[in-house]
């Protein structure tokens, strides 16, 4: 963070932001007693929010910071989830040991998804292609029955971390809190380093960035890989949380939810991804009894946000406090 501070123009906001940065670590500490106040179901929803924080953060790096139309995020999510599930079920590994491999597999999938972008496929073409990639992965889960359990899905064994069994929702909460915090902190570092500035340059004008000597290909690959890694870790958390993986969990509706998190929270804003995850993750739980209602509400919500609040909820927060603007919100 000190490296970024040296380059950023020193403004009142930046100074306040630097102070705020130290407060960042207080947030997870303040969240520690949360499980004391929640019942089992509320705790489950809180855990789900923590799962979708890295999902939003990773997705936002690619679509918000790099500005590329990549619709393959659900593929990374599913690959992370199935990697964890398969390693636990087939190899008998404890859950904690599968988190990093799940992230790596997500990162590899992210790198693979960046290949068309590196070959110059952009805009709608990239969107169509990555959409096809995501849907294709769903057929891999369905058809690769020996590993994935096919369309019936697979039961994930009870997760454990370092010998502790995470059989209660509150136990999972602490494990997820650590992971989500780590992903946010690392992504924040990435975005505030020369990598993050290169992402912004690429989003602003890729040709100009390349002309200035920024190796755009390398940064695009890196952005996709990091996004895939973060989302892969989220997938692993998802597997631990729900205990049962099946292909319909990774379909187009899931993509819309993840898109909504990024758009409603705020494109290109780290804070926005977190806010979006908090606001939207719990939402589908309310609509469970009315099939179709969720789709309708989400569709209208995204339309309204694009029309009336194109920078998402994070832009409202940024308006309220200059420190939030300088630190977490980047135009």
């Amino acid at each position: 963070m000190s490296g970024a501070a040296r380059h950023a123009p020193v403004t009142a906001g930046a100074r306040a932001a630097s102070k705020l940065g130290r407060l960042f670590w207080l947030v997870p500490l303040l969240l520690l007693p949360v499980p004391l106040f929640l019942d089992q179901y509320q705790q489950y929803v809180a855990n789900l929010v923590l799962v979708y924080v890295p999902v939003g953060v990773g997705f936002n790096v690619v679509v918000g910071n790099l500005g590329l139309l990549a619709f393959s995020n659900v593929a990374f999510f599913g690959i992370g989830a199935y990697t964890s599930g398969i390693l636990m079920l087939k190899l008998g590994l404890p859950w904690w040991a599968t988190v990093f491999p799940a992230g790596v597999m997500g990162g590899i999938a992210g790198s693979a998804a960046s290949v068309p972008a590196l070959r110059g496929v952009r805009l709608f073409y990239l969107a169509i292609m990555t959409l096809a990639f995501g849907e294709l992965m769903r057929w891999v889960y369905i058809r690769w029955e020996p590993l994935t359990g096919g369309s019936f899905g697979m039961a994930v064994p009870t997760p454990s971390a370092f010998g502790w069994s995470l059989d209660a929702e509150s136990h999972k909460f602490y494990a997820f809190l650590v992971l989500a915090t780590a992903v946010i902190a690392l992504t924040n570092r990435l975005l505030r380093s020369r990598f993050g500035r290169a992402f912004m340059a690429i989003r602003g004008n890729e040709e100009a960035a390349a002309a200035m000597g920024i190796p755009t290909d390398r940064y695009i690959l890196l952005g996709f890989a990091w996004g895939g890694f973060a989302v892969g870790i989220a997938g692993s958390m998802y597997a631990a949380l729900v205990g049962h993986l099946s292909p319909p969990s990774f379909d187009l509706s899931e993509l819309i939810l993840e898109f909504a998190i990024v758009m409603v929270g705020g494109l290109g804003s780290l804070l926005g991804s977190v806010v979006g995850a908090i606001v939207l993750t719990a939402a589908p739980e309310f609509f469970r009894d009315f099939p179709g209602f969720e789709e309708l509400v989400f569709g209208v919500l995204i339309v309204a946000v694009i029309l009336f609040l194109p920078r998402g909820l994070a832009s409202l927060l940024a308006r309220a406090h200059p420190a939030l603007r300088d630190r977490y919100y980047r135009e």
Binding site: F124, I256, F259, F298
Partner: protein, 292 residues
């Protein structure tokens, strides 16, 4: 085994014609606005439902039901473009793609609320019959759909290439600012062309509802196949859309029979990915994919 090949090709072409119709309707919108409508599949689905409501619930004969459904979808497409897409047309492409996707998603939700998981099927307005020609079975559906699509291709081809309207379309496609400078009302034109695309999509939805059951999720299914046909034929090309659709239909049937049934489902995805990786402009693409 090989004896079945002609039959597979014939039924592949028939299915492919439906994909071609969806791809044609998407091409119309794309050629006019250079924006790909990610919610198009759901407009196709809504078109099918509209015809069902008019024809079955309200008891109208097929022809008026079909026409009113198409007109209704024209209005919906027009309004989506004018009210939702036009305000953000200068914004990032992500917003445009998301907007269309979200609109389609909302339509899907509305359809699910209303019809849930009912499986509806449109009654045939013509006698269903099958013909045998040299051991190959043709159904009346195959002939009607293929005939309709080829006729539509001819009309669109003439409209795009031999009329003043075609010149306007080409002018707007090449340069919106240039077109505006010579006095073309680009905004109104965009709205009309999205409406036309949606109306043609509705036609696709109606024909689709004749042969497969209507469900709210049919939109995604058609969108993916329409994309694959467009990509294969080349974005923006009318004959490309039809030929791409036919090749896709044949490939699904042939690979699905001779290799593995999973190809019925995944051929469209594979085609999309491979074509964009290997030959992004497709078979008949007019301009190469934007490259940097």
């Amino acid at each position: 085994m090989l004896a079945l090949l002609p039959q597979l090709i014939v039924s592949g072409i028939a299915t492919g014609m439906l994909y071609a119709l969806v791809a044609l309707s998407m091409t119309v919108g794309y050629r006019a606005t250079t924006v790909v409508n990610f919610g198009h599949g759901d407009l196709v689905m809504i078109g099918g439902y509209a015809c069902f409501v008019l024809g079955v619930n309200l008891g109208l004969p097929f022809a008026p039901a079909f026409s009113i459904a198409a007109a209704l979808l024209f209005a919906i497409g027009f309004l989506i473009q004018r009210l939702l897409m036009q305000p953000i047309i200068a914004g990032p492409h992500l917003s445009l793609a998301m907007m269309a996707l979200a609109v389609g998603y909302a339509f899907r939700g509305a359809a699910r609320l209303e019809w849930g998981n009912d499986i509806l099927k449109l009654p045939h307005p013509y006698p269903t019959a099958t013909f045998f020609v040299g051991g190959v079975v043709f159904t009346m559906d195959d002939l009607v759909i293929s005939g309709f699509v080829l006729l539509l291709l001819l009309v669109l081809f003439l409209l795009f290439n031999a009329t003043p309207i075609g010149k306007v379309i080409q002018a707007v496609f090449q340069s919106q600012r240039g077109a505006a400078l010579v006095g073309i009302n680009v905004r109104a034109f965009h709205g009309v062309m999205w409406g036309a695309g949606a109306a043609l999509g509705a036609a696709g939805g109606v024909l689709l509802a004749l042969i497969v059951p209507l469900t709210p999720d049919i939109g995604v299914w058609t969108l993916v196949r329409g994309f694959a046909a467009m990509t294969l034929g080349g974005f923006g090309s009318l004959p490309g859309a039809v030929i791409g659709g036919m090749i896709l239909g044949i490939a699904e049937k042939v690979l699905g029979f001779y290799v593995s049934t999973v190809f019925i489902d995944i051929t469209a995805y594979l085609v999309t990915i491979l074509v964009l990786l290997i030959r992004p402009k497709g078979l008949f693409g007019q301009q190469a994919t934007i490259r940097i």
